[in-house]
Symmetry: D2
Subunit: 321 residues, 4 copies
Amino acid sequence: MIEAGIIGGAGYTAGELIRILLNHPGVNLNFVFSTSQPGKPIHSIHQDLIGETEIQFTNEINKEVDVVFLCLGHGNSKKFLAENQFSEKTKIVDLSTDFRQKSDDHSFVYGLPELNNAEIKSADFIANPGCFATAITLAILPLAKNGHLKDEVHVNAVTGATGAGTSLSETTHFSWRDNNFSAYKSFEHQHLNEIGQSLKQLQSDHEAEVYFIPNRGNFSRGIHATAYTKFSGSLEEAKKIYKDFYADSVFTFVTDEELHLKQIVNTNKCLLRLQKFGDKLLVTSIIDNLLKGASGQAVQNMNLMFGLDEKMGLNLKASYF
Amino acid sequence: MIEAGIIGGAGYTAGELIRILLNHPGVNLNFVFSTSQPGKPIHSIHQDLIGETEIQFTNEINKEVDVVFLCLGHGNSKKFLAENQFSEKTKIVDLSTDFRQKSDDHSFVYGLPELNNAEIKSADFIANPGCFATAITLAILPLAKNGHLKDEVHVNAVTGATGAGTSLSETTHFSWRDNNFSAYKSFEHQHLNEIGQSLKQLQSDHEAEVYFIPNRGNFSRGIHATAYTKFSGSLEEAKKIYKDFYADSVFTFVTDEELHLKQIVNTNKCLLRLQKFGDKLLVTSIIDNLLKGASGQAVQNMNLMFGLDEKMGLNLKASYF
Amino acid sequence: MIEAGIIGGAGYTAGELIRILLNHPGVNLNFVFSTSQPGKPIHSIHQDLIGETEIQFTNEINKEVDVVFLCLGHGNSKKFLAENQFSEKTKIVDLSTDFRQKSDDHSFVYGLPELNNAEIKSADFIANPGCFATAITLAILPLAKNGHLKDEVHVNAVTGATGAGTSLSETTHFSWRDNNFSAYKSFEHQHLNEIGQSLKQLQSDHEAEVYFIPNRGNFSRGIHATAYTKFSGSLEEAKKIYKDFYADSVFTFVTDEELHLKQIVNTNKCLLRLQKFGDKLLVTSIIDNLLKGASGQAVQNMNLMFGLDEKMGLNLKASYF
Amino acid sequence: MIEAGIIGGAGYTAGELIRILLNHPGVNLNFVFSTSQPGKPIHSIHQDLIGETEIQFTNEINKEVDVVFLCLGHGNSKKFLAENQFSEKTKIVDLSTDFRQKSDDHSFVYGLPELNNAEIKSADFIANPGCFATAITLAILPLAKNGHLKDEVHVNAVTGATGAGTSLSETTHFSWRDNNFSAYKSFEHQHLNEIGQSLKQLQSDHEAEVYFIPNRGNFSRGIHATAYTKFSGSLEEAKKIYKDFYADSVFTFVTDEELHLKQIVNTNKCLLRLQKFGDKLLVTSIIDNLLKGASGQAVQNMNLMFGLDEKMGLNLKASYF
């Protein structure tokens, strides 16, 4: 059994990790570290877990675990690792933005299995991708692989309220968000950096601008993204490129059907649909922001790092409704 | 023109008052007092008002206005009036709980027009009823009027998230409340006091217990309440009692149709439906918690106090969808 | 008083018209024609109207009314007018697509007041614009007026479920749509025709493609649209262009604030926000699809045709929550 | 491996069964019978299954399977079994109401494991309980077991839209149900029969009336029920009675925490909370109507019938948000 620890246990991504790991046949949840809730049962915060576990939050860290997941706010992972050292064998999966940009300062591998499968398998440290970045990168990566990204990419995506975390704010207040819709951070979302890095990794001459408008949706979970760009080939050629690229992917699928968000809610899947209009290729991409966009992908990375079946613990029943 | 002021202008009920008063043909909105937002345009907080008014919040109070609405947190109205004195002619409508219980200490009239129409017309100070209290009292008041309240009353009601005000809390967080439902304060809601007072006013020997379970609904506006009790007469007798009682009411109607909440959302109406099962009379009651349950009723009271048409400014288009 | 009739009274847009006209100080609702519901009170279908009116649907048409609104399915207006003739004085507002394209075959004026104010004032027949068309056209029309539309326009918009009408379908089933999101008719929405026609009216050399992705949102009312294109001037220049263009508009406003859909729900307003990123001008546009996008605009057109105050009957209280 | 078949594969409960059985380690999904969709992949209807299975609906029934689940409309199971005969070894789980009432005409066991665990283990035919019946019966059954049901029971419960099935109707239309709430079938819901039967099974002298008001909630999944009745003992005594009764239950738990619906959505759990006010014991009960209230409980019954771990295949990750 892999002994696993979670740092920062009270937030949404930690909750999802706990839900997955409690039922993961290859993992024992060793500890859930929380500075705010030590001594309390984790089901006092993640209240769906009543009847399933009596594990408590702890303020002590077991530095000998096999793997640790960092569920800290952006900027805090780097700080935490500077102040806390794990054993040599401990692998780390960081869910923050702190190590997503490649740098000589660290050895974290960007944990998008569809892009870096081999590197992840031999990695000790994983920078888990952002949720928008996962949905959007998977939508256009096969084009970059094949050198087809030569023109502007136009992306519009909408995320559920859990994407904003547990913190209370005007735009996460129910009375505000219910039956509402709004754009934010247009053309300036921080995930554009990691998207650009991934595209350049596969197509080094990629210089095309990605125009991205993120939106706040009035639902809890999920990201729905559309992306289009010029593509000179036919729809069939595009489908072949995508199906080839994702041939070995166990969670990312290309379909001919019209997509809707709830197909993937509460699963670790990414579904992609391709359409061609004039000279434009349109790709629709849907993921669960907390799973394929965060904790599910983190476990997928853990499975790869430890040589387990990539899907272990991740055959999740979709809620669908 | 009636010169009107609002004290505590940043909350939901103040926003609704402003929306109504800006279009009220007999009123000029003289000032909106806010300690937190002075100098800002009111449309910076009540953002639907862009293009309709350039009025700003002020931290100065005009004590010569004809009427002032107090939209302060419960407990704060009493405090505010102790520290601030209005002119002799200024009428006051208080939306808090502070003066709802009759007492020798004050001369506020409980502002439920269906109960105290005449008293309101000659009142200077109005204690505007609570939202749950309005929905529930209107559902059972005709029985008290006719001495039919002899047995336990069983009430279950659900309110929208705006009922909890603008403050941020776990249960008003969108990610929590979306697609959720929960009971709270069962049998102990503070509005039971004013409900009991109103029933006793009409039926002094009323001793029957009112069992009330309030619920948090995953919608923004409205209260849906069901109330049942033993009633020895027929359904037709009950309908006659109710229709007689509400014959002169301009916003409260008895219908034979099945009710659903959105019939009254964004209006000042209360709709009631009666059904009889065995020896039980079941009454369904629906109101908009922010209008008939707060600001709409406050304006209705103002209209009565100033001798205006009771409906003036309150012929509101239902949103319905 | 203007005597008004409605043809096709059971749908959403007819319901909204009835709600508005019942409170319109210059109009008497003469009849509501419905082949499916004759003899029933209109509040049996538009159930918010209980207590407000006892008017019944009729299957007889008064051909002498001053104005008639056609709320028929697309394709049916033309057919209806071929089979039914109104008096010479009767003005017609058609809410379908049937007469939106200019043609030698008819004399309907496209009823977008921001574009055709003068023509509407002297028109007898109005083709009321589509909901998406209204939101999108208002977002880019000032650029066309000033000859700035030289490059591709990228539009993404989301509409509420009422946009699909009362008919039952998989995508309007609550269990499907709740907490869901989906794109549809990408690049091929039928409203692209009328958008193009309006742009060309102001900028005859306009040849730039409008790429439009419509989406189904999990809310009932409203359209939120974002549109961007190359614009060589500064943000200040753009704002000046827009503010000049809408200087006389009574429902369309340009604001510097971040927008969210509920600002305009249950009103006849359109709010626009401009932002500049690099060489791109981004315009966000929000309207209520049933009001400014349908019935509210129809009444606005009626007001203009009859020389009334353009806002009469349309000072609607936003629901906001 | 248990070979399992599903009759009536296109509805919600069939979809949930398929989702569960595809990941159930002890079951092979042998066939999914559908008269409306034969030859189509099941993921064309249950669209979350893209990428997980290529099984197709069939119009042929394998009568040699080990277990068959009947997901037919109420009234149709009896008819189907009259026309179709399975092998002697085939166990049947019927999700309709057809066999829930004990009768000399059939040998179906009422499949509420908390009530009939031993009988289910040796049964060949199971009548799977209704969703409201499950939530409400579990809330009051321990009282009946101990002879405490002597007075009226007052129940109010709200269900999600999936409770109404896939059929399209006014009250399942998104534009109607969104942000709406309504009571229906008050005091007359068909599940009162099976609730009464279960209570009488444990307390044969039980004659107390159960007053039940069902409500339509504006969410997709789940039932939230409150039930109260006179109880002469203390809260601690009540808790002991309930905890003893559910000591061996693997999905039903008594908690001291405030409950909210989303704690159990997408799980097979029932959570119960007890409170005492005066002489009244109040029990809150929450289940997922499609799982513990239908397909999850059906699989739980199958597990018991085949001697498997009762929880096998049912350790489902809650969606929670």
